[in-house]
Every structure is written in C-alpha cells, then in structure tokens.
C-alpha cells in the first residue's frame, strides 16, 4: 500500500513526511496522482522558476513490484513553454524511492546556495554543492555517488549539468547512467532552486502480501518481456532499429523536416550502430529487457594515443542530432551526443533548435552577424560542435538564445514558418503523417509517447480507417496511458501491460480495481491535465502547426489543413475538453 509523501522545503532546509493513503487509493500513483499534486503545489499561476514552484516525483503501485515498472513520473510547471511540465525517467530512481518507502517526493522552495540532497529512507541531509556546481552531469554522478556511497550501494543519483545551473529551458535532469527527465526544462527548475542533485537510497522495500498470486502474475510478465516478441526489438537493435523502416516509408525527418527520406540513413541505422559501435546493453533497475545501448567512440588525440568514450544512443538522439542536421557520420553524431550528455540538455530540444538555426542561416533570416562569424550549415558536424561549445560557454547572444529552444528563437529572430515545434516543444522524430502531427499538437506533453499516432499512420499504409476511428484510437490510447503511467510501467512495455495484465497485477496486490474504474480514472486524469494547460493559457485547440509542414509531405502524403482541423476538433470532443469561450 502506497501512502507516503516526503516534502522537502529547500528554503528552510527541512523535510516532513505526510501519509495520504486516500490519495493513492483514488489516483493510484504516477501521472494521475502527480497531476493532483501539481495542481496543489505548482498551480497554473506559479512562476516556473520562482521559489514557489515545485518539483514532484511519483512512483506507482507496480514500481519495484513487477518487471519493467521502472519509471518515475516528474511533474512541474515548465519553464520552456509555461504550461504542464511532465517527463518520465527510468534508471534506479523508482527502485530507490520504493526502497526508501517514499511514494511521492515534493520539493519546494529555494536553497540560499548550491545544495545537494541525500535522501536515505526518510532522512534528508542538505549538503553544500559549491564544489560540484559547474561540473558536467556525468562528472557530478561520479563525484556524488562516491561521496554518498563509498561501499558501492546502488541508490539513485538525479542531477543537472551546467545547462540546468544556467536555468536553460532546454536543461534536463540526468538519472543514473544515461536516463533523463529530458523534456520541458525540469533541469532549469532544479537550477532555479539551487538544487544540483538529489540522491535516494533506502534499506527496505515493499512487502509482497499475496506471494502466490504475485508470483503467478510476475512470471507471466517476466516471460513475456524476456521470451516473447513484445519487447525484443527494444533489446536487440533498440529504438535505433526504427531508422531504416521509417526512412523506407519516407517518415524520417531530415534537414529540419524538409523531407522524410535521409540519404545517409544506412550509416546511421540501428544495424550499423550495432555492428560498428555498440559495446554494451544496460538496463534500468528491474527491467530484464535492457534497452539502453552504449556505443564506444575511439578517437586519436595524439599519434598512437586514443581516448575511448562510452556514449548512449537511441532513435531520438540519432534523429535529433543526426538526420535533422543532415549528419550521416556516427562519430559526428556521437560527439554531439556526448556534449549534450555532459551539459545536461534535452537532446531533441537542442537538435530542433540547431536545425531551425541552420535553416535560418541558409535562408538569410540570421547571418554571420548574429552567429558572430560561425556558419551554421546542414551536414557540418564540426560547425555544430563549435556551436554547442559557444552555447555552453554563453558566447554571443544568439548562442545563448539557442538553449531557450526553437520557439523562443523563432519569435525573436524570425523564421516561424520553419520553427518545428508544437506547443513550444521541439518536435519528436516521426514524419509519418497527420496522426503523428495530431499527437504532437494535442498530446499533453507534446510527445510522440502521448498516444499511438505515429503507429496509426504506419497502419494506414496497409489499411484504411475513418478519421473518427483514427482519432478515436489516439484518444482511447492516450487515456489508457494515463493508467499505465500511474502504475508506473515503461511505455516500451505497453504491449505487455494490457488491461488484462494490469488488472491481474492490481488484483495480486490486493487493490480492487476493475476495467471500468481504470477507464474512468484515465479519462479524468487526461482532462485534469488539459484543464491545467488551459489555465496556463495553453489551449491545445489553439496550438499552431508549423507552416513548413504543409509545404512538404509525409509517409502518408501531404498534410491537409482542413483535415487537421477536423482531427483536432474530434480529439478535443472525444477527450471532453470544455467548450471554448
């Protein structure tokens, strides 16, 4: 039974524990409960980077208890787009929170000076982070893990890189090895609170009450994860395996969404990465799938001397820092990923900002005056690396602006038509068609993971579905994802955690839910999120589709304005958004 919320107030340097079993009874955990806490602790009127804002981290009833329930949901008000901030990360955080018997963590206030927190069970220690301030996201983990756990304990380390310290809206928070609260600027919120990092560990763990029933469900899930095809692709090639299939149908965004076919796709494919660069798979705690793919980049730095860097890669990174920038050399892409990892940026946010900057440069919207002599050209990996270092060092106004994201830059410099963002968030990497675009536009996180839009587009290549069926599938699945994101299972395991499995799991934990009750909770959770967005002034019905999208094509053909509007209306009606005033 989950019930414990740990409140940490950075202003006063105090922590208190609150038991709220009724909240977990009603909202399960994860995204649904987190949204309620968001309304309470970071209401729509709050300044995202102000002392009054809050960071909320929530696990769910399946966390640690069943395989692949590895995610922790974070909610906050986003400094990137000023509305609902939500991001999920794996790693060992969910495990550590459950070991510590913390079901939700609410961090408020602002520390007077750089601080990191060590949370062990319910004890919180506030320590000076002055010596860690300025350290990369990777170095910070090395330092803090050794400081906090010289005996090699396996807690979780959540930290920001220098980007978060600068309050960059594109700053993420990095969790353990290569996992991230990536999008919507959570790193800047941590930075605004002078919170460099928090470490979580615990000596306990949730008891399993009904051991026989639990084992039966556990084994069914485990065997499906390990032995069936449900998750095989995530383990084998990983999401990078999407490069070639998407390219084949014309859905791989290339050169700032100019087209869906990249001539260099073969070199960037999951197959090519696996053959030439993959050295290790890694997993989040309690995930036998292990989708984290590590590449090794071996580079000479002097005659007969080499440095070898291990760098995580996946589809999103290859898209954002590869095809979008017309880079087809894996070492160039990996070099950019490495800077992004160290600095603690959202990779997709940075990729879409650089892609906009390149088109702005090519089309004359900005020139060498703004870029202070540095040309930004598609395909120029060395140029992008220099640009990232300028952003990192804050050299020049234009480069400082780039880490505020594509929407900010286009509003300031121009080039709105080719600023590929939805609701202020740089677009995800699927140019499959109108369903994917609808997801970006209407999804609560403006993420490709909000609903199955890009999958629906690909299904349309083989069969026809009415608009109502297409949008209906998106909304229904978006509502169901509210349920699994409350448990909290990884979305890569969405094939495993169907309704039957979820109900079996809840039953084995002695939690009385039925399909109808879950469905209602999902529907209501989604509406609560839209209500928050609307209260922030971000009504998804008024979000814009970048003009450039209408001039090109997608895997399923050109995008039709009228049809997109119809889809949007259907989506709003099916979700049950309030009437527009």
């Amino acid at each position: 039974m989950q019930e414990t919320i740990l409140h940490i107030d950075l202003t006063t340097g105090t922590a208190r524990r609150e038991r709220r079993p009724e909240l977990f009874d009603r909202f399960l955990g994860g995204t649904t409960l987190g949204t309620e806490l968001l309304w309470q602790y970071a209401p729509p009127e709050v300044d995202p980077l102000g002392e009054q804002s809050a960071l909320i981290f929530v696990t769910g009833p399946f966390s640690s208890v069943f395989p692949v329930a590895t995610k922790t949901v974070a909610l906050f008000k986003s400094p990137l787009n000023g509305e609902l901030g939500e991001t999920h990360a794996g790693g060992r955080l969910a495990m550590a929170l459950r070991d510590a018997a913390i079901d939700a963590l609410v961090i408020t206030g602002k520390s007077p000076s750089p601080t990191f927190l060590s949370i062990e069970n319910h004890e919180v220690t506030f320590s000076s982070a002055r010596t860690v301030w300025g350290q990369s996201a990777l170095a910070s983990e090395r330092i803090l893990r050794e400081y906090a756990a010289p005996d090699g304990r396996k807690g979780s380390v959540v930290r920001i890189g220098p980007a978060g310290e600068r309050l960059a809206p594109l700053a993420c928070a990095t969790v353990d090895g290569g996992r991230h609260f990536g999008r919507l600027g959570l790193g800047a919120v941590m930075g605004s609170k002078n919170l460099k990092a928090f470490l979580v560990s615990g000596t306990g763990g949730p008891p399993i009450i009904h051991r026989g029933e639990h084992r039966q469900v556990y084994d069914a899930i485990y065997d499906r994860v390990v032995a069936s095809n449900d998750m095989k692709k995530y383990h084998d090639l990983g999401t990078a395996g999407n490069i070639l299939p998407l390219n084949a149908i014309g859905g791989l965004p290339t050169r700032n969404f100019s087209q869906g076919f990249f001539e260099g796709a073969q070199a960037l494919s999951g197959e090519a990465f696996a053959e030439h660069y993959l050295v290790q798979h890694m997993a989040c705690a309690h995930c036998p799938c292990g989708c984290i793919h590590m590449a090794a980049l071996r580079e000479p730095f002097a005659p007969f001397h080499y440095r070898t860097t291990k760098i995580p890669y996946d589809y999103e990174l290859i898209y954002a820092l590869g095809t979008l920038l017309s880079l087809s050399s894996p070492p160039e892409v990996l070099s950019l990923v490495d800077v992004v990892e160290k600095e603690g940026w959202d990779a997709m946010g940075m990729g879409t900002a650089l892609a906009w900057a390149s088109e702005a440069f090519v089309s004359g919207v900005v020139g060498l005056r703004e870029t202070e002599g540095l040309p930004l050209r598609f395909g120029d990996g060395g140029g992008y690396l220099q640009a990232m270092h300028r952003i990192r060092k804050g050299e020049g106004e234009f480069f400082r602006d780039l880490e505020r994201g594509v929407a900010f830059c286009a509003a300031k410099y121009g080039g709105e038509a080719f600023a590929i963002h939805f609701g202020g968030v740089g677009a995800p990497g699927y140019l499959t068609g109108e369903n994917a675009l609808l997801t970006y536009l209407m999804g609560v996180r403006h993420s490709h993971l909000d609903d199955p839009g890009y999958g629906t587009d690909q299904k349309l290549l083989g069969k026809s579905l009415s608009l109502e069926e297409q949008v209906g599938a998106a909304v229904k699945d978006a509502q169901w994802r509210m349920v699994t994101n409350s448990l909290v299972t990884c979305l890569f395991a969405r094939g495993v955690y169907d309704e039957e499995m979820v109900l079996a799991g809840l039953g084995a934990l002695g939690l009385s839910w039925d399909g109808e009750k879950l469905k209602r909770m999902g529907e209501e959770a989604l509406r609560r999120k839209y209500a928050y967005k609307i209260a922030c002034g971000a009504d998804p019905r008024r979000g814009k589709i970048p003009e450039k999208i209408f001039s090109g094509t997608t895997a399923t053909g050109p995008v039709d304005r009228g049809r997109m509007e119809l889809r949007r209306e259907l989506y709003a009606r099916m979700v049950g958004l309030p009437e527009e005033v």
């Binding site: 090699g152 997993a283 292990g290």
Partner: protein, 136 residues
Amino acid sequence: MGRKVLRVIHRDRCIGCFSCMYACSRTFAGMATTNRAALRVRAYTGVEGAFSLRTCLRCPEPDCAAACPSGALKKVEGGGVRLDKERCLSCGACVQACVIRALQWNADDRRPIPCVHCGTCARYCPNGVLALEEEA
C-alpha cells in the same frame, strides 16, 4: 551426484537489471527490493559503467564463518555456511571477512544473508549470466 553451486558464468553479459537480486529478496524475504538478496550486482558509476557480480562461492573453508565470534554462522559439510539467527550478535564481522563482498547484510534486522545456492536468481537472469551448476 555433486552438490549444486551458484556460479557467475558470463559476467560480461550482465546488463545491470538487478532481476536476480529482486528474485532472491522476493523469494526469501517476501519483499520487492534488492535489499534482501544474498548476492550483489555492483554497478560502477555512470554511463561508463560495468557490472561486477558477487555471489557466494560456497567456500570449503569460509572466511565469514571463521570470523563469527558466536558460532552463529557455521561452516556446512562440503562448503558454504548456515546462519543460526538466535546466536547472531549482529557484529558484522562475517561481512567484513568476505573479501569479495559476496556475503550480504540485512540492514533492518542486522544479520547476514547467506546464500543457499537454490538458483532462483539464475532463473530470472535474462542473459544467462548466472547458473546453478554441479560442483565438480
């Protein structure tokens, strides 16, 4: 037929999912955690990470048992140890004596967690890192 012993047969295939430790804690302590496991996957920091598995070797002359001042941790005929909980003083000398850091410690009841070499952990290893083998 020889006795079974848990072995790390493919350390370099470990992905660090901790399914083995979860299985052990679940089976013997009825808890969904890694904290009650009789083995440890040690993860080295960060994305540069690698994993090292520490499992009981079923030593014929166990250092852990030799270090126990109360005789609670006893050598078993043929190798390995057994714990008599009532006699345990919670001093931790056994854990300190295990140089490879295989013997684990239950931080709540302050006693060691000796491995019984049942192979449950190996059943839940997705990559065949662990195996229960016949002792030669």
